[in-house]
Amino acid sequence: MTPDARQIVFDNVSKFYGEVLGVNKVNFSLEPGITSLVGPNGSGKTTLMNLLTGLIKPSHGAIYVLGLTPQQPIQFFRQVGYCTQFDSFPPGTNGYDFIYWPLRLHGFGHDQATKLTNEALERAGMAQVARRKVAGYSKGMRQRIRLAQAIAHHPSVLVLDEPLNGLDPMARSESIALFEAIAKQGMHVIISSHILEEVDRISDRVVLMSSGYVVAEGQIKEVRREVRDHPMQILVRCSNAAKLASAAFELDHVVEAKILSDGQSVLVRTRDAEQFSLLLNKIVSTGLVEVDAVAPADDDVNSIYQYLIGSDGGPA
């Protein structure tokens, strides 16, 4: 793979800690937008993010971020902001200094650094408590002050390791809105999370990881198509659930047809959704059954994850 000035490229990247596998043979490239890294603890999400930002070095392969590598730190870290999962801070620092001094290391003068610090504090909703010592912050506040530091210099690539951990619902929703706003400006936002419903809702694409391997990658619907061999669940609300269920059972690709407790819905698990749709059309056209609604019951990250690695993606 050749580096592209707009893409983030992982080119056959492997990382071993001695004999322990971190990630293995990772190959993908990311376009601007929100990308979610999903996987249980120990699946390699943080390793991938640390590799991306140069905190650790790949054992094999290469990583390019907008055509740059961490070996060019001055150009690289002007483009990249990383909010890590490490819940630690320089001793004695307050929220304001925590953002201001790294901006001075970026080379901003006092006035610019002050302006950027205040802006980042406002965006993260931390302006009111900025002068308090970080040691006295709640977990959610510490999470937000790290986020503020990561976005303060207006990076083009924002890497966020479990950024919603410890946030209350209001702060979560504000943070998600912030990520979406950043992504709409044409930037890369890479989020790792095991709160699957949240990343499902905000992601443009997803990278599913398990035991150090990327098991699927792409838009959620594309990933779903990639795993066509696995049965898909379709919920059908209709006038005669028993009839529909019995018709569905006659098809080879239908694995299961379950009449739900309301008596008017059938949950069908099929290996071929298109063929099932044709059957449904045929039944409807005969007038035997009236169909009220058809919806995929599992076209979200969690279900895909279950299919792929036999886990719900929650903490191991």
């Binding site: 905190l55 001055i74 870290f77 002007r78 630690s88 001094w101 001075r104 080379g107 802006e119």
Partner: protein, 290 residues
Amino acid sequence: MSIQESVARAQTTLKEQPWRLFATQISVLVRNEVRRNLFTRRRIWVYLLALIPVIIIFLHYLLDKNRSPSQLEEDTFVLAGIVQFYYLRLGIFFACMGIFTWLFRGEMVDRTLHYQFLVPVRKEVLVVGKFIAGCIISIALFETAVLACFSITYLRLGSTGSSYVFEGPGLSQLGSYLLVTALACLGYGAVFLALSVLFKNPIIPGAMLLGWEAIAPIFPSWAQRLSVTFYLKHLCPVKLPIEGPMAIFAVVAEPVSPFVAVFGLLCLTVAVLVLSCFLIHRLEVTYTAE
């Protein structure tokens, strides 16, 4: 000017003037490191290392009433012994071990090193910034301590001490003591900074270094040049009349001029710093392995 314009303008300026950027970054790093490492309870033992001789000499000043002019020579030798044997071989050695190894390893222990690695700062600039900060801390502490020892020693002797300092060789000796103290901080500091980048636990290599500094005089001249004390010994202004096995610590087998000693130690310091700049590129942020 909008924030976006400020960012773009700053980035353009910095691209055109990298040395200005490096200087700014070093000054910020030094400021942060000095604040973090100088005024902290973790450094109390370093203050004690610096101040123990001062306290002893001060107690001697209070309790010993013999302040005759004949004491001058003896007190001068005692002061020389304190500087040469305590400060140069033990006090500054262990203080630099604590201060300079903590600059990187301490951040690993505190899990804050990633903040230093996620800013647009070259790793070499980071090494230099931290080294300068360590030097400021150690030099400030030990120069103050040596100055205090010197002042109390000769203040005790009244007019005899005063004339020795201002009309005799006293001031020149003070200058030499301050110079060797500063050079010891630079030399040991560079070595311990390199050890902290090279080893996860620099205590064992530090102990080996202490042994090497002690036995280096029995090795050939070229090997002695790889020890910090080799250069410092040549700059000490008072030759101690020591006999027996302890004489090995004071013996100057192959005298070199003060200029060569200073230049040699600075070269050694720079060489070790350059080595650290190479080694730092291998350092990874893996806190779980600490």
